[in-house]
């Protein structure tokens, strides 16, 4: 469902502003929605995403908690048991790890272990990923840990519009959502209408951001702008690339991904997270299982190296960039390569 908005109502907005608006609107609509975390009150969060919420809704609805992530998530579990709809902010990707046991042993399992009696309508917002010059422990791509946990949904926006729509959908979901916010896109801007924000499709639907015929780039979150840039640059090489923004890693949209790959016959998965054990391996396996006879080449991955996240002055060598993506696309066994004798 897309609301038609007059072009004049649209103005530049950042992803952070769209997220703030989503929290605001969810809190205004449903008194059960409670925002909690470290510094989310007067400060508005270290990324200012909760800016103004405590002032508007009071400290009980947007509350600064003690500095203890397991305690934050654990108490949120109890609040959800009592019918609230907590939205938890973890300050940084790597600071969310103390909450891991609560997430894996309780948030993810509570519905199942009680046969649906105690659902967990929780949203856990986690700023993630690198590219912001952060020092150690501020740039992890932790999505694979969460994806390995049945019972969780894992969602990540890549556009201003999706930041609003996906966060609304996450808060509205009766199941827990790990909502990964790409830090380096917080200040990305787009024309957006905060007065009549578009509603997006339910969780679990990917978006085709660029139509193309020759190969599909499958990506999400912080790597989407890089893939869009790579697709533009690929035109010079004569490749017409399709770009898919997964938006939701779990549930996973096999349908959109497979329809695209069956059409293009080639696929590259791009993400910042480590390649080994990363989401790309699962995605490549799913494509191979479902689209094998349509594939002209193995599904390739462009991922972060299998190293601890590098110090900020070296991070550009770690992060997937346009050149690395194009180099990988070049390895997709193009017919012209074979004709030219350049193929492997």
């Amino acid at each position: 469902m897309t609301t038609t908005v007059p072009a004049t109502a649209r103005k530049p907005a950042t992803m952070a502003q769209a997220l703030t608006r989503a929290l605001h609107d969810a809190m205004a609509e449903d008194p059960a929605v409670h925002v909690m975390g470290e510094d989310v009150g007067a400060l508005g969060g270290v990324f200012r995403v909760t800016d103004g919420l405590a002032e508007k809704f009071g400290d009980d609805r947007c509350s600064d908690t003690p500095l203890a992530e397991a305690g934050i998530l654990g108490t949120a579990v109890g609040m959800a048991m009592y019918g609230l709809r907590p939205v938890v902010e973890m300050q940084f990707d790597a600071f969310a790890y103390p909450a891991f046991e609560q997430l894996v042993s309780h948030v993810a399992k509570m519905r199942n272990r009680t046969r649906g009696a105690l659902p967990m309508p929780l949203t856990i917002r986690i700023p993630y990923g690198g590219g912001i010059g952060g020092v150690e422990h501020h740039s992890d791509s932790s999505e694979a840990y969460y994806l390995a946990t049945p019972g969780l949904q894992v969602v990540t926006p890549a556009t201003v519009e999706d930041a609003y729509g996906l966060l609304r959908a996450a808060i509205a979901s009766d199941d827990p959502v790990v909502f990964l916010e790409p830090k380096r896109l917080y200040w990305s801007k787009a024309d957006w209408s905060p007065e009549a924000p578009a509603q997006v499709a339910p969780l679990g639907r990917a978006a085709i951001r660029r139509r193309g015929a020759d190969a599909t780039l499958i990506t999400y979150g912080p790597s989407l702008p890089v893939c869009m840039e790579a697709a533009e640059a690929a035109r010079a090489e004569g490749w017409d690339l399709e770009v898919i923004d997964l938006r939701s890693l779990m549930p996973f949209d096999d349908e959109t991904v497979c329809a695209s790959v069956r059409r293009t016959g080639r696929a590259v998965v791009v993400h910042e997270a480590h390649g080994f054990g990363g989401p790309g391996g699962e995605i490549a396996a799913r494509i191979t299982e479902r689209c094998f006879h349509h594939l002209e080449a193995p599904v390739l991955r462009v991922a972060g190296f299998d190293i601890p996240y590098p110090p900020p002055m070296l991070e550009r060598h770690h992060l997937p960039g346009v050149d690395r993506i194009l180099d990988t696309v070049a390895r997709l066994q193009w017919e012209s390569d074979w004709i030219d004798g350049r193929g492997e």
Binding site: D60, G78, P98, Q102, N112, T114, P150, D175, M250
Partner: protein, 394 residues
């Protein structure tokens, strides 16, 4: 009044640094400190003033609880329970925790606290579902406001705090009582839960059953604190020490803590000093880490015997009452035995629909796979293609 110097003035040659800004303790620690000795009521003058109805009710529950423990332990030997962590010797703690709560309150038990759940009115078969292994939580927690039996230590404590906090925000009269063992007090979640509860002044009672051991590790290797109750002071809440085998003292101390929580006074940490008479579970061998003499010493301080002595001294322990109590407990045990001896009805397709509100694509695929396997299995067994049940072994 101290006159602070202007910023930058300390650079002036010869000026002195100012005094530290005023400091005072944020709360007076004295009232938070536990008593020097665990509180005891039975055998003291205080017991004389207790309502006979309370004493007889406690007795009925203790006898029933002991019988429940022996029956559940027997069910492990018959292979009807995968495992049973017994609360034998700790029945006074379990029973008191259940009895001090109102209907609208919530109980947050650990895996050793099935008895508390049963004493709160839960069907024993449902309480034991987890330990039989046919499902994880065998009951709807909302019906009797009993949170799922929690296996990861102390992780249920922040849940209790969050639930109590949420109820308070909504203006509801709800107290949460959360149970944990001495070993669990070493976990980070214990610390975080107590801290959150105190900061939020949440209506929570934390009941630590100090039964001396975390599986095999004695308390001395668990903590260097004067007592577990003393830990409360660091969070700004009262710590209370109580004889965990004295049912009347347990009831009194927990009642005070619940009333304090209910009236907006905030959380309390209660340490019940007791002893785990049985091994950790039926799979454990307690002779490897503690002397039999220690167990015998605690058997002599048995919660049922302590209460019987009190009842007898007040002429409340008639033969008829004892017999009726025993018969009631036996009837409960017989019913439990009979129902647990029936094989649970299992539906493998139940593995999928509760993971998410809406089944994901991959779960639909996997459910279809299992359904097909079950159909093939069923077809195979009707066609007699099953593997022989017993193969000859060399």
């Amino acid at each position: 009044m101290t006159v602070l110097e202007q910023p930058g003035s300390s650079r002036n040659k010869g000026s002195l640094p100012g005094p530290a800004p005023a400091w005072r303790p944020r709360v007076d620690p004295a009232p938070l400190l536990p008593d020097a000795e665990p509180r005891r009521v039975l055998g003291t003058d205080a017991a004389r003033r207790l309502d006979p109805a309370l004493l007889t009710r406690l007795y009925e529950q203790l006898v029933r609880g002991r019988r429940y423990n022996t029956q559940a332990t027997a069910l492990t030997r018959q292979g009807r329970l995968a495992v049973y962590p017994s609360s034998t010797g700790q029945e006074a703690c379990e029973v008191a925790a259940a009895l001090v709560l109102e209907d609208q309150d919530w109980l947050f038990p650990s895996y050793r606290d099935t008895l508390a759940a049963v004493a709160r009115g839960l069907d024993p078969v449902q309480a034991l579902t987890l330990l039989r292994g046919d499902w994880h939580t065998g009951y709807d927690p909302r019906e009797r406001r009993i949170a799922p039996l929690c296996t990861p230590l102390a992780t249920q404590l922040p849940h209790a705090v969050g639930l109590a906090h949420a109820a308070r925000l909504k203006g509801d009269d709800v107290v949460a009582l959360a149970m944990v063992g001495d070993g669990g007090t070493s976990e980070g979640d214990f610390h975080e839960a107590l801290n959150f509860a105190a900061v939020w002044q949440a209506p929570v009672v934390f009941l630590v059953q100090n039964n001396g051991f975390a599986i095999s590790v004695p308390l001395a290797k668990q903590t260097a604190a004067p007592s577990l109750a003393h830990k409360a002071v660091g969070y700004g809440m009262p710590g209370r020490l109580v004889d965990g085998n004295d049912a009347a003292a347990m009831h009194e101390v927990l009642t005070e803590a619940v009333e304090r929580a209910r009236s907006g006074g905030g959380p309390t940490l209660v340490e019940a000093v007791t002893y785990r008479i049985e091994a950790h579970t039926n799979a454990d061998d307690a002779t490897r880490y503690r002397p039999a003499s220690e167990v015998e010493e605690w058997r002599a301080h048995d919660p049922i015997a302590l209460l019987e002595r009190e009842l007898a001294s007040r002429d409340l322990l008639s033969d008829e009452f004892v017999a009726a109590t025993r018969d009631g407990a036996e009837a409960m045990a017989a019913d439990l035995r009979e129902r647990m001896n029936q094989d649970p009805v299992l539906d493998p397709m139940d593995l999928f629909p509760h993971v998410y509100a809406e089944e994901s694509g991959q779960l639909r695929e996997q459910a279809a796979q299992l359904r097909a396997e079950l159909a093939a299995e069923a077809a195979g067994s009707t066609e007699g293609r099953d593997e022989p049940a017993q193969e000859a072994r060399p």
